[in-house]
């Protein structure tokens, strides 16, 4: 068998040249008369090493990176196909500290397997959760997920089991599973990595969800900005169908599940679940007034379980290994693991899946390696554009839902965006308001008008016009938006604004304390 070389098809790796590296390896090998099989895997999430090329030697994979096409002749000269020493070698991939220290329960296969190869997936515990679910009654599956303590990883952190129970209890001619893959938060890419690197785990999670709540149809609402994830998902769905995991009478169970991908159209608001449902129905993505909850009256008026990609992709391991196994990870009410995404100004950005509870400092420095620019880190935005900005004095906060809520922040979808000391926090606060104005669906006034007025107020504060009065008005406006908006967009835009004001007043023209 020819030696296997892994070159990611992950779009992050592609953005750094992985496609030409994959092609280059095939060409160089042909030139040298060497047999080689290039496998296109997902990314391990070590983005500072991408394109990361791995060579399989027995049971071990040896990592080389970042590899560019001009490195290929020297890699072949160094016999990298036999794991030869080279300046770009990092030794066995599994022993790279960044990876070795992680607890990958949701993402163990991302970067490891061929994402659209069902057999590869099955060799790595794939479909083990589904096989167990096939022998369980719906309420047993729901109880297993409830007992695991899994909470919605999209950001709202609502207990998944509770949501599923509500859907299960509804009597309806049709129910749906709607996967929210509209990963719009800056600083987040775990959904994308899963869909590009291990889409079968999402598909398996959706099938199990369907069995649990009695839904026979699923939709993945995928953002338009993810064309590579789209292609990989379609390939994976076709492969799953061919292997008998989708369609009618799945694996002789007399249960059915059909799955379809629908592509969004560049609206951040469609990550809000009711707006996503409107969009799935082919309408403007305007937020719906709740109640009724989507679990009662969701897609096309039917009971619908709306879950994020990470939540659904975590379901297979919970079923395969049991609720207790998953629940044993984590702290307090935050059970299990969270795939944290390190982004922005960090030396080593990437995916770090850990049990809940590590400090922000540990992630920023031990994993992230500090700033990419070499300057001191000054502010970190956790949880996307609607998350609070945290100053250095709060870097010891543990990453769990309650600890962050305790300091007026939120964990959201687990994105961490770091800024060095060149950041102007008044500009970031203004950006938060502008972004809200740009993305507001327009249905409620605090969000639609408040965001534009908020940006204007911050402009005046920056210019020093009636500073005190405008600051008071801004705080008052934030109150109105927070409590008067229909959904999280208007309701949470005040988080980045107020945290910037609170922690970085000097950027808003306040006299410096020293």
């Amino acid at each position: 068998m020819s030696p296997r070389v892994f070159v990611p098809r992950d779009s992050g790796a592609l953005s750094l040249g992985a496609e030409s590296v994959a092609r280059g390896i095939t060409e160089e090998a042909a030139r040298r008369g060497i047999d080689v099989a290039v496998v296109r895997n997902g990314s391990r999430g070590l983005y500072w090493l991408e394109p990361l090329v791995e060579v399989e030697i027995g049971d071990t994979r040896v990592a080389y990176g970042p590899v560019h096409t001009q490195d290929l002749p020297s890699l072949f000269d160094a016999a990298f196909l036999q794991g030869g020493a080279h300046v770009l070698s990092h030794g066995p991939t599994a022993q790279i500290a960044y990876l070795a220290r992680q607890q990958r329960l949701t993402c163990p296969r991302v970067g490891l397997i061929d994402p659209v190869d069902v057999a590869d997936y099955e060799r790595c515990e794939g479909f083990a959760g589904l096989r167990r679910a096939l022998s369980m009654r719906p309420e047993e599956i729901v109880r297993e997920v409830a007992d695991s303590g899994l909470r919605g990883r999209g950001g709202a952190a609502f207990p998944t089991g509770t949501k599923w129970r509500t859907v299960l209890e509804q009597a309806a001619p049709q129910k749906y599973i709607a996967c929210n893959a509209d990963e719009g938060d800056s600083g987040t890419f775990a959904d994308r990595m899963l869909m590009e690197g291990d889409p079968l785990s999402l598909i398996e999670g959706m099938i199990i969800a369907g069995f649990a709540v009695g839904a026979t149809r699923g939709y993945i609402y995928l953002r338009a900005e993810y064309p590579h994830a789209h292609r990989t998902l379609l390939e994976a769905i076709a492969a799953a169908r061919a292997a008998g995991y989708l369609g009618t009478d799945i694996k002789g169970s007399e249960r059915d599940f059909e799955l379809e991908v629908r592509v969004g159209a560049g609206a951040y608001i469609c990550g809000e679940e009711t707006s996503m449902l409107e969009s799935l129905e082919g309408r403007r993505g305007e937020v719906r007034v709740r109640p009724p909850l989507p679990a009662v009256k969701g897609l096309f008026g039917m009971p619908t379980a709306v879950n994020n990609v990470v939540s659904l992709a975590t379901v297979p391991v919970i079923l395969a290994r049991g609720a207790a196994f998953y629940r044993d990870y984590g702290v307090g009410q935050s059970r299990g693991t969270l795939p944290v995404q390190l982004a922005g100004n960090l030396r080593r950005g990437g995916l770090v899946e850990l049990a809940f509870g590590p400090s922000l400092r540990e992630l920023l420095y031990d994993f992230g390696g500090g700033s990419a620019s070499g300057r001191p880190l000054r502010a970190v935005q956790v949880g996307g554009p609607l998350g609070a900005y945290l100053p250095e004095s709060q870097f010891d906060t543990p990453l769990d839902y309650e600890a962050l809520a305790g300091i007026g922040a939120l964990l959201g979808h687990g994105g961490v965006v770091a800024f060095d000391d060149t950041v102007d926090m008044a500009r970031m606060a203004r950006f938060a308001m502008r972004f809200c104005a740009h993305e507001s669906c327009g249905k409620c006034t605090p969000c639609r008008i408040g965001s534009t007025r908020g940006a204007e107020l911050i402009d005046r504060i920056i210019l020093g016009q009636e500073r005190e009065r405008n600051l008071r008005t801004l705080v008052d406006l934030c109150e109105t938006m927070q409590h008067g908006s229909l959904c999280g967009l208007g309701g949470m835009t005040p988080f980045p604004v107020r945290s910037a004001l609170e922690h970085f007043p000097e950027d808003f023209g306040a006299a410096r304390a020293h």
């Binding site: 900005e225 592509v263 609206a267 995404q341």
Partner: protein
Amino acid sequence: MTAHDDTMRERIDSIVAAHAARPGPLLEVLHEVQRDFGHVPPAAIPQIARGLNLSRAEVHGVVTFYHHFRSTPPGRHRLQICRAESCQAMQGDALAAHAERRLGVRFGETTSDGGCTLEAVYCLGNCACSPAIFIDDTPHGRVTPERLDELLGDFVAAAD
């Protein structure tokens, strides 16, 4: 009525027919129209509305709600630059300003030779490799102004 108009009508009819029976088909139809024509021609809206049993206002409302749908033809190439927080943390604003200068257009505009449309996008999901861009369907990460010039060099003449 030109032959071109007839071709467009036929094509849109077939797109609408292919999707009409599916639940909530409008976005799917608009995506396919835009894939074929580069934009959603305003003249197509009444036809799409009739085909899907919607009002023209509903179709127009959807086309204008979503940033992705355009009502005018784009340039031959599309440069999308992420303007969101992670890319801002890595000099994305400087890259954006450089792109505007280099192309001689503002965001949302197309160069006068029709070569390139410059679009702002809010997150490409490549935040560990900021600043991130797409040129047509190809992603590029950690893009400096110099790198952008190299990438654009192939098809964009300098504006000045």
